[in-house]
Amino acid sequence: MATLLYRSITGIPALVVIPDKSHSLYVIYNIPIQLQTISTSDVTHIVCGCISPTGRILAFVTQGKRLDVYKFEEDNGWIMSYSKLIPFKSSIQSICITNSENDLLLADKSGCVCSFQIKDSGEEICNFSSLLGHCSMLTCVKTSVNDKYIITADSEGKLRVSNYPNAYNIHSFLLSHTEFVTHISFLPDYPNRILSGAGDGTIKLWDFENSLLLSTLTISNTPVYLLDVSSQGIIVVAVEGKNMLYFLTIQENTIMLLHTIELQAQPYSGCFGLNNICWISTYESFHAFTITTEPKFNELSVSDNPCLLYLSKHTDWCQIKKSEESKYSILKKRTFTHENKYYEHKQEWIEAKKRKIQSSHTPEPERPYNM
């Protein structure tokens, strides 16, 4: 169970692996094969991380809310820029660097999104400004290609599109998911469109500028575990409880299923790399697939790719440290029937009342209806 992050670091093929409940993350460069281990100074493990769109900045947060920011230098690899404590009460759910690389956005469990200036201010605790808030747990935060909008997804199935940086002005809500949203992904060819994956097992295509739902594809009735889009517009998806990878594409505003591949174990995370290689981590091992233009899907063997050979020696990164029934089990909706109970009780009382009026001998019914 390792989260795979990135495709290229300033044009160099590389892969970032964050193992579950780990204090370190690993950057593996392909040519020549090289590994850089980046460890947090914090006592708690890494919860989430991200790389800026150009691949120059790497940021990650630990459970103890220490934010580490690294900058990439051609000769030395990743160099720590700073490490700070962030004044958040709730745990961080998602992290994102804006396309201008000026700000870092953090979304937390209580529903707040805050922004930090990436430039080091020299203080131990960084200054932040609160951008927006949901009244539900946030699951994902992203900014649009031109940094005009910030898109947040929450555990109630809501996608909110707000202006950026004036995020108090909401552009629209994208409502259609019936369960928590797990992923937001931008499409390289369409700057105004996003894909969303959710706990209801659907992938939806939206025109967020005009608040339109363009297409829905139901993959399963279980949560979407991974969703990523390649530079050629190929989409990879996996869902809970199925050892399958689904490759999709978009044709004329519709999401189409291109191909499926069965794996040995449940896919957990994945991303597209340079040269159209799709990297996948499952609960057991790592896989890589090449996608050629026809389109054709071929699994790479360890002899084809030095990076994959390297990963095959580190399958321990895939291990689950804590037994969890599901990646998103805490987000699943629970239903109660208080309301029905109340109305049943009320109906009973009215019936009894009716009987009483008809024959005044019936005893006084117990009321009022307590819940």
Binding site: L175, Y342, E364
Partner: protein, 270 residues
């Protein structure tokens, strides 16, 4: 002395309804179809005033506003839409006053407490039965305004939004439950039209200051001028129409009112 060391045996009264003596004062009328014909009595619908709005999970809102069946609430609504919204409508006094004052507008009250909401529902039903073709423009529904407003209303749908005598949530740790907060104001601004009005009233000075500060600080709202205030026919209703307001007046409390207009976003991109 013995009574002092006796453990308190009664269940916490906060969640249970105050049961009054029901003998002798029962004047609820039912017709032969079992429909309550008289106005509902508040004593049967009392519920604890405070709820944790962030933990209420048993509500299933519509997925999006377009699937909402408003004709179940307003038999003659047709293609029109709700324009006035009373958040935390309590026992519905404002709705009933607004109904006759703005007969051409559709007005909705939302209330999170099921019994209180049911009281308002029964009250409207009864009013509709006894006054033909009246009170068809008001309704109530149970939802959580902090979470689900965008599920019910489109952008810029509303022209008036009321927050009358909200739960003060005095403790600092409960301030996040307050109905006015910077993040929620963004949602209120989203559902309000440009020029739409947000009314607040409270009897707690601290809450008044809190609401005034946060709404004034929000870039999409501006305080109403005194001319605008004096020409607004809703203002007198704020302190007279609701059950809460009557209670405050009865107990000699103060009414604090603050009203704001939704304005264009002053933000200019450089």
């Amino acid at each position: 002395m013995a009574s002092r060391i006796e453990p308190i045996q009664s269940a916490p009264i906060e969640n249970s309804t105050l049961i009054e003596s029901s003998e002798g004062d029962d004047d609820t009328d039912l017709n032969t179809e079992g429909i309550i014909t008289s106005l509902p009595q508040k004593k049967y619908y009392r519920q604890r005033a405070h709820v944790n709005p962030l933990s209420i999970q048993n509500l299933l809102p519509p997925v999006c506003p377009s699937v909402m069946k408003w004709s179940e609430h307003y038999p003659d609504i047709g293609p029109n839409c709700v324009e006035f919204l009373d958040i935390g409508c309590g026992y519905g006094g404002l709705l009933i006053s607004l109904s006759t004052l703005f007969a051409d507008k559709y007005i909705l009250g939302i209330e999170i407490r099921i019994k209180v909401m049911d009281y308002v529902n029964d009250r409207i039903k009864s009013l509709r039965l006894t006054n033909a073709n009246q009170y068809l423009n008001i309704s109530v529904l149970r939802t959580n305004a902090m979470k689900y407003l965008p599920n019910y209303f489109n952008k810029a749908q509303l022209t008036k939004l009321f927050f009358l005598y909200p739960d003060p949530h005095f403790k600092k740790s409960k301030h996040k439950w307050r109905i006015i907060s910077p993040s929620l104001l963004a949602e209120y601004a989203y559902i309000l039209q440009i020029g739409g009005v947000l009314y607040t009233a409270t009897d707690v000075l601290e809450v008044h200051e809190w609401m005034k500060k946060h709404i004034t600080d929000h870039s999409l709202f501006t305080p109403m001028t005194s001319e605008e205030l004096s020409s607004d026919s809703c203002i007198p209703l704020l302190t007279t129409s609701t059950e809460e307001a009557a209670k405050v007046t009865r107990n000699g409390g103060q009414h604090y009112i603050a009203c704001f207009k939704r304005i264009h976003d002053p933000y200019v991109k450089y």
